[in-house]
Structure formats: structure tokens, C-alpha cells
């Protein structure tokens, strides 16, 4: 009996001692191999607010690069404390368009299952407190995903300038967190994220004639003579309301000093205008026909005054002298190299006094309507 008791006691002692030794070995020498916990932190997180001024309604962009393997079903963006976050899911429209949003290098469209509440939909899945949640598809670790929220109805920045933080969290469909990324954002004073640029564009107007002489040559009664090289008037102006080209002449016709005779430009010029007509061979007459030839650019449309509409041989109207300038052409807007081509036409009768000094001096002026 005593022997048995001693055996039992010895056995217990050996077992206890063995366990003690094993514990010592474990403690002193060999840590157990236990897998480390997953970090659960996004590799990369960026949230860009399109306005940084305090108390500004703003759109923005969310980018995140998952680090942990999981089956994403949602992404929840928590905006900084103090920002006013609409809890109306319909105020959180999103898209996955990269063009025009300057996504960071490597950014790709956030994968979405589509449908109501998904990224790319007109509404979020939920919007509670500072956190807005959208439905997401499963994401690949190491890929930078981005999306944009595109309506300003969802978010208004905080009313105090400063540095703030928020989070982007990927979740499973059951809302278990997979990765969390913390972002920082700064807000500045009212209007301190904008520059107002102003300028005044000076008025400018130019009128250039292509020549100052127009030799019609020897006139004969059997035909109507016209300018061998029609002269042009070129207008450049930034007058927003257009421009005018006026003309007058010195003799109201072609006058010969030696013959004391004038081939008349108009029958009467007392009213300051004459009728548009077409000269006929054998009948004395002298007129100016104008055509709007071209315009490189400009907002204006050129109109030739009815009296001086040309375009065919002998067609036009007579310039006046005593009545002063008559409108030859006009435009209702700006002009870049607006060209008016002018033909002088003349016809004589068989009884027209011969002379070689028939002449007239035509004067053209222009101005912009600023």
C-alpha cells in the first residue's frame, strides 16, 4: 500500500515536472508560430474635394487601393466632422468617369454591381450621419479604384478653415470592415480657393484701301466701262456692334475741266442718296457698285447699302458731294479682314464732250460701333 502510494506520488511528480519543463522551454526558447493579424489598412487613400473654401457645396473624387483580400460589397466614405452631409441618398449621384476628373496615376473605375445604390447610380445606398455608403463589386488588392460624386447637393464643407480627416472603408456585403483608409483634407477661407481674372479689351478699327487710283481708260459710247482692277476696302474691327463704310465724291460724277462737262453720277443728290441702277451703253452715267467679297472671321454680317449694290457690269449707285457721306456698307458685328470690292462704272453718250481729264475724287471712311 505504501509502495503503491509512493509510485503514484512519484508519477504525479514526474508529470508535473515534465509539464513545467515544457512550459519553460516554450517560454524561454521557442515562441509559437501564430499568423499575424491582417493590417486592414488601405494601401492608398485619396479624397479630393472640388472646393476647399469653407461652407462650400462641393463635388469630389474618392480613390482607394485595397490591401486586404476580401469580398467587397460596399464602400463607406465618412466625411470629416463638421461637414454637412446630406442624409438623402438621392443627393449622392456618382459616376466612374476618369476623363475630366484628373484621377491619380493608375486610377481605374471603381467596380460596381450596378443598380440602385451602387457606385455610378444616381443615389447612394445609405447616407447616415457623416457616412455615405455605396454598393461595390469585389475589388482586387493592389488596384487603385476611383469614383466621383457629381452633385453638390450632398456635401457642404465645414464652416471653419482647418485640417480635417475622414475615412474610406471597404466592407463586405454584411458590412464587415475589410480595409480602412484615413484621408486628410484642408479647408480655406471663403473664396480663398479661387482667383478672379479680369480684363478689358481695347477697341480697334482699321480700314485699308487696296489702291488710291482707278483709271477707267478711254470711254466709248458703245459699252459700259468698269474698273480694270477693282479697289477693295478691308475692315478689321472688334467693335461688338459692327461697323460702317461711308463714301462721297468730289464731283458727283466724272468731271472734265477742259470740257466743262460732267458725266453725272446721279440725277439728283439733294436727299443724300440715289437709286441703284445699271448703266446702259450710250447713256451718260457714272456709279459705284460694291460687293462684300469675303471675311476671315468675325461675328458681323456685312450688308451693302441698297444704292451701291453691285455685282454686275454697270450696276451701282452714285456717290454724292453736297449731301456728304453715304453709307456704302455696314456690318452688325466684329470683322476680321472683311473685304468690300468696289467697281466704278461709267458710260458715255455719242455726244459726250471728248476730253482726257475726266476725273473724280472719291473718299471713303469707316468706323466701328462699339
Amino acid at each position: 500500500m505504501i509502495k503503491s502510494y509512493k509510485n503514484i506520488r512519484l508519477t504525479k511528480t514526474r508529470i508535473a515536472a515534465g509539464l513545467f519543463g515544457l512550459a519553460l522551454l516554450i517560454q524561454a526558447a521557442v515562441p509559437l508560430v501564430i499568423p499575424s493579424a491582417s493590417a486592414g489598412t488601405m494601401t492608398n487613400t485619396l479624397v479630393r474635394f472640388d472646393r476647399l473654401a469653407q461652407t462650400s457645396a462641393t463635388t469630389g473624387t474618392v480613390c482607394a487601393k485595397p490591401a486586404t483580400v476580401g469580398t467587397e460589397g460596399k464602400v463607406a466614405v465618412t466625411f470629416p466632422t463638421g461637414f454637412t452631409v446630406s442624409t438623402t441618398a438621392g443627393n449622392w449621384s456618382t459616376n466612374t468617369t476618369s476623363t475630366g476628373y484628373a484621377w491619380p496615376t493608375g486610377g481605374t473605375a471603381w467596380l460596381t454591381p450596378g443598380g440602385a445604390g451602387s457606385i455610378g447610380d444616381a443615389a447612394a445606398s445609405t447616407a447616415v450621419g457623416q457616412t455615405v455608403t455605396w454598393l461595390s463589386s469585389d475589388l482586387t488588392v493592389g488596384t487603385l479604384y476611383c469614383f466621383n460624386w457629381t452633385t453638390t447637393t450632398g456635401l457642404t464643407s465645414v464652416g471653419t478653415a482647418g485640417n480635417y480627416t475622414g475615412t474610406v472603408v471597404t466592407q463586405t456585403g454584411a458590412s464587415a470592415t475589410i480595409d480602412t483608409g484615413t484621408y486628410g483634407v484642408t479647408t480655406v477661407g471663403v473664396g480663398a480657393d479661387q482667383i478672379t481674372v479680369s480684363a478689358t479689351v481695347n477697341p480697334t478699327f482699321s480700314l485699308a484701301l487696296s489702291g488710291t487710283t482707278d483709271a477707267l481708260g478711254t470711254l466709248v459710247s458703245g459699252s459700259v466701262a468698269t474698273s480694270p482692277i477693282p479697289r477693295t476696302a478691308t475692315v478689321n474691327t472688334n467693335a461688338p456692334n459692327g461697323w460702317y463704310l461711308w463714301g462721297k465724291d468730289s464731283n458727283q460724277g466724272l468731271n472734265s475741266t477742259t470740257a466743262s462737262h460732267t458725266i453725272p453720277s446721279v440725277v439728283t443728290c439733294s436727299s443724300g442718296s440715289s437709286a441703284n441702277s445699271t448703266l446702259a451703253a450710250g447713256t451718260e452715267g457714272y456709279n459705284l457698285g460694291a460687293v462684300a467679297t469675303s471675311q476671315t472671321s468675325g461675328s458681323g454680317t456685312v450688308s451693302i447699302a441698297g444704292t451701291f449694290v453691285g455685282g454686275s457690269l454697270g450696276k451701282g449707285g452714285g456717290l454724292c458731294n453736297s449731301a456728304g457721306y453715304q453709307t456704302v456698307a455696314s456690318s452688325n458685328g466684329t470683322a476680321n479682314t472683311s473685304v468690300i470690292t468696289m467697281n466704278n462704272n461709267a458710260a458715255i453718250a455719242v455726244i459726250t464732250n471728248p476730253a482726257s481729264d475726266y476725273t473724280d475724287l472719291e473718299t471713303f471712311v469707316g468706323a466701328g460701333l462699339f
Binding site: K3, L10, T13, A16, A17, G21, A23, L24, L25, A28, A29, V30, P31, L32, V33, I34, P35, S36, A37, A39, T41, N44, L46, V47, F49, D50, C63, Y101, A102, N163, T165, T182, Y183, G184, T186, V188, G191, A192, D193, Q194, I195, T196, V197, S198, A199, T200, V201, N202, P203, T204, N236, N238, P240, S297, G298, S299, T334, A335, N336, F370
Partner: protein
């Protein structure tokens, strides 16, 4: 030799079945000039005795002594210093002090998040893993030598939480059964994720201003803005950040006329009309670098388009301090840009960082 003693203390567990017969048991014994297969390292080997009973241990927060047997065979207790040298928000730097341990000594680092050890961790206990992250468990692979832990330059613990204080302490081992106790703790606090941004047109950030007035300009001539857009940008984000720009009208627009001197990427010398921006200078105090982004990186009269959509203006792929840039606007009205005194544009300049 002293380490050998400590080793034998560990081995005492193996031989914990005290010598005995069916009648007697030897409760106190000793043997000399022993040694075990596990008692040698490159520098030391065991020649000692074991079997002495130990008394009650005494301890402080950092050290434990077990009177009754000699424990100096342990590795020397190392020190470690934790700092946040560069406004880090997700990492902290530590440097080990070996305390004369030999080069083959291995070190493990324990971290207490949010509180110090008094004597137990008042926060969450973690360990620095061999990938420099924190983990809840310490495994053999997390014991690394001085060089692997960065040597005199140290290394960083990564994956930390911003605005949080971390406490760290280290212990050493140099062969089995030689592990020291933890040394004194050191602490540092991570910063928050930070972005700093300032926009101005009056010389410097403090000067303020948010207007650029070209004044009266002539058609078909290239006009430089009389003052420039100043942008200051800094962030502690690991991946840096960008400054972006976008416009309201896509050009200088006459409110009364509706005409727009359209912004475009172009050399204004070769086009009839244009409006855009060109970065004149960019620099930083440290980090970065902050760089010009195409198409705003031209020279002379080459400008980048100020679109109504967001465009990158400046970029850095690393944290930076004191980033600053000066951007000039240039405009060339065409012959037909209506003469108006109400041309205007609103440029919005923003910044974001990649944490």
C-alpha cells in the same frame, strides 16, 4: 558561462524529475562541468551546474531578478528610441541600442498603443513584425538582429494609426534560454493626416489677394498677367499629392457680350487667340519634389488650357514641406475679340493628398 547557467535553469525543467528511488528522493543536488547540446552559441558555451533552489523573485517595471541563482547569462537588456522625425501619420522610427550585445543577438520589440507599461501595458499590446507592421503575436521570425532592424539608422514601424501615441520596448536573446527582460520604454506620437494649401496673388500666402486684373489689353497681342498665382502646398501623405485647377468659363468671357477668349493649350505666338497658364517656378523646402504638370510646364508663350474640368497643375509623389509655385496667366485676344471691359474668369485651385 553565465549564460550557460541560465540555460541550465531552463534545462532544469527537462530534468525536473528529481533523482529518487522507491524509498528516497534527492531534493537538492548538483553536478558540474556539464553542458548540453543547446548550451552553446558562437560566443559562449555552458560549463556550469544547476539544481539550486531559487528564492522569491523581485522585480521592477523593467527588470526581474530571481535571487538564488545567477541570471547574468541573459543577453544584455537593450534600449530602443521611438521618434516621429517627419510628421509621420502612419509610421514611426525606432533605433535600437544594443547595449553591447554581440552581433548575433536577436531583438524583439513590444508596443503598447495609447499608454505606457505600469508595469503592464495600459493600452493594446502589439509586437513589431518582421515586415515592420504591428501584430498581436510575437513569433520566432519577428526576432531580428540589429542590422535587420536598421542598425544605427533604425527603421520604421508602418501601418500605424494617425494621432496616436505608441510606446515601445525591446528585449534581446542570444541563443536559446538567454532572453533578457524588456528594456525601458520610449514613446512617440503619430501626426494626423495633413494637407496644407494656400492660394494668393499678392506675393506670399500671408499677403492674400485673389484677383488678377489684366487691365486694358490690345487685340492680337500677348499679354502677361501683371501678378501671378501663388500656390503653397504641403502634405505628410506617403504618396504626396497634387494641386488642381479648373475654370468657370473655359476662357475670359465678356459678361455683356458673351464672347469668350477661349483657353487652349498652345503657343500663343502661333495662334490668333488664346488664354492659358504657365508655371514659372516651383520649389519646396524638403521632400517632394513638387513638379510642374504638362501642359502647364511650357516656356515663353506656351500655355496650358484652363478647362472647365479639373486638371492637375502641380504634383508630388512623396511627402513634402514648403512646396510653392508661381503661375502666370497669358492672354491673346484676336482681332475680333469684342472691345469690352467686362472680360472675366474664375479659376478654382484645389489640392488633395494621397495617403
Amino acid at each position: 558561462m553565465f549564460k550557460g547557467l541560465a540555460l541550465l535553469l531552463g534545462l532544469s525543467g527537462i530534468f525536473a524529475s528529481l533523482p529518487a528511488t522507491t524509498t528516497y528522493q534527492l531534493n537538492s543536488f548538483g553536478f558540474g562541468s556539464g553542458g548540453t547540446g543547446n548550451s552553446a552559441t558562437g560566443n559562449y558555451s555552458l560549463e556550469g551546474i544547476t539544481g539550486e533552489l531559487s528564492g522569491n523573485p523581485t522585480s521592477t517595471g523593467n527588470y526581474t531578478t530571481n535571487p538564488g541563482f545567477i541570471q547574468t547569462q541573459q543577453a544584455n537588456v537593450p534600449k530602443v528610441t521611438l521618434t516621429n522625425p517627419s510628421n509621420y501619420y502612419d509610421k514611426l522610427k525606432f533605433v535600437l541600442d544594443q547595449q553591447n550585445n554581440p552581433s548575433d543577438a536577436l531583438y524583439a520589440l513590444q508596443v503598447c498603443i495609447g499608454a505606457d507599461w505600469t508595469p503592464t501595458c495600459g493600452g493594446t499590446t502589439m509586437y513589431v513584425q518582421n515586415d515592420d507592421t504591428l501584430g498581436a503575436s510575437l513569433v520566432l521570425a519577428d526576432y531580428q538582429n540589429y542590422a535587420t532592424w536598421g542598425g544605427a539608422s533604425g527603421t520604421t514601424i508602418i501601418g500605424l494609426t494617425g494621432n496616436t501615441t505608441y510606446y515601445i520596448r525591446a528585449k534581446a536573446t542570444q541563443g536559446k534560454f538567454t532572453e533578457s527582460g524588456y528594456g525601458p520604454s520610449s514613446n512617440a506620437t503619430t501626426s494626423t493626416q495633413q494637407v496644407s494649401f494656400c492660394l494668393y496673388t499678392s506675393g506670399s500666402c500671408g499677403g492674400g489677394g485673389n484677383t488678377i486684373a489684366f487691365g486694358a489689353i490690345n487685340v492680337n497681342s500677348i499679354n502677361n498677367s501683371p501678378n501671378n498665382i501663388g500656390t503653397d502646398f504641403a502634405t505628410n501623405a506617403d504618396y504626396g499629392g497634387s494641386v488642381y485647377i479648373y475654370s468657370k468659363n473655359g476662357g475670359l468671357k465678356s459678361t455683356s457680350n458673351g464672347y469668350i477668349i477661349t483657353s487652349a493649350t498652345a503657343n500663343l505666338v502661333g495662334v490668333g487667340e488664346g488664354f492659358g497658364a504657365q508655371i514659372l517656378s516651383v520649389s519646396q523646402s524638403s521632400g517632394g519634389p513638387l513638379v510642374k504638370v504638362t501642359p502647364f510646364d511650357g516656356s515663353a508663350n506656351s500655355v496650358g488650357v484652363l478647362a472647365t474640368t479639373v486638371s492637375s497643375l502641380l504634383n508630388s509623389t512623396a511627402p513634402l514641406v514648403g512646396g510653392t509655385a508661381s503661375t502666370q496667366l497669358q492672354v491673346k485676344p484676336s482681332f475680333i475679340a469684342p472691345a469690352k471691359n467686362d472680360y472675366s474668369e474664375t479659376l478654382t485651385v484645389i489640392a488633395a493628398a494621397s495617403f
